[in-house]
Subunit: 254 residues, 2 copies
Amino acid sequence: MDTVPLPGRRRSDRARQVADLLRREIVRGRFGAGHLPPEAALAREFGASRNTVRDALAVLRAEGLVERCPGVGTTVAAEKYPHGLHRLLGLAETLYEHGEVTNEVRAMSVIDAPPPVAARLGLPDGERVVYVERLRRLNGLPLSLDLTYLARDVGEPLFDADLVRNDVFVLLERVAGQPLGPAELTVEAVNADPHTAAVLGVPRGAALLLVERCAHLADGRPVDLEYIRFRGDRLTMSGRLRRDPGEPQEDTWP
Amino acid sequence: MDTVPLPGRRRSDRARQVADLLRREIVRGRFGAGHLPPEAALAREFGASRNTVRDALAVLRAEGLVERCPGVGTTVAAEKYPHGLHRLLGLAETLYEHGEVTNEVRAMSVIDAPPPVAARLGLPDGERVVYVERLRRLNGLPLSLDLTYLARDVGEPLFDADLVRNDVFVLLERVAGQPLGPAELTVEAVNADPHTAAVLGVPRGAALLLVERCAHLADGRPVDLEYIRFRGDRLTMSGRLRRDPGEPQEDTWP
């Protein structure tokens, strides 16, 4: 047999393998919102020891994905929602099959653009922009905290718009009379600082997906710069890449 | 003036704003590996109080991005490397400008495919696959831990390949005699479990980018399923989205 078992292979290494496969099955909805099979059954399925399975479940419990209920076993604790990475979509657009997105506007004002914002939006220094901060919920559950800087001509009309029930993208397209075009985005993982953790309802230090996204109108003008913190225990981003994109790719960062 | 300052706007809210903009400037290399401007200068630049700037710097310090050196000020502690999200790239390919990627093979063996792996790779139950686990370093610094499942016909030749200095993608294309085609990927943020933290050299609970990526050959056959944990303090993923992708988009998940 061509196996090359390397020295130092520990149970925690095997547990990580099982945890990754099991996480995927949970996120894909194999168990719905219900029970996972008993440890012995999972051990058979994954060709692992029960101790390894137990360690894998501990990893997923620490992520907030499953709970252990004494006398009942392990149950799915939280749904993770898929945010499309295949095209530029607002939150309500991408999650329309999963429920209702509502937005709590925590701040909205016209401010002097900080120099990095002015640079990204192609504005002269000292130009004013519209700042919007929203806590976004899906079915009442906090999902993301969004900090948004908008070019003033498209941003100011939003003072009169229904930001509670609409994605900014949809409103911007209405105001601008043209669709959005391309966007650059950068995805990072950060630990929640204490105040953000309190706002999003997660433990301090919880892993968040931090997305910076700069969206342009179809005519090429950048109008919308956002910093979005998604709860890592509630959201995944999924897309499709190609080895040969088949077209010239511009640099993703200006 | 059209400002609508909402009640309850706290210094920690403003600090988050400043932290996001400053993080971007650091990641883009505005300060190189050197000093940040003094707090008073940053306060002027961002139109914030010095206390707000101090809180913002504390957020970035907790992320491991900056350090405070008594008597010197705040310095950039770590470079964050950009992983391309615009096309399917191996780590050495995407970071070639940033240094040398080397891989420590922690495990490599032929194993019975766990059912979720067989399903993703389109293999019958019980088929055997090649499992490769690598700790990947950039310029000697741990960057990611990759768990890879390969279809046996393309995976077994890799036992004789130089995995230390090559991306699996490049080796697979050589073995298969055809380029890779599309890949589905899912990005999540998770906290590092204690053992993973030790392997990657980060504190327990540090935020990681967890990427699941299933790559197909150009002929459409899925051959490479990976679970990749990137250090959140060392890597960002950047790409470009379009509002109207201009072609039919398949579902991103089979």
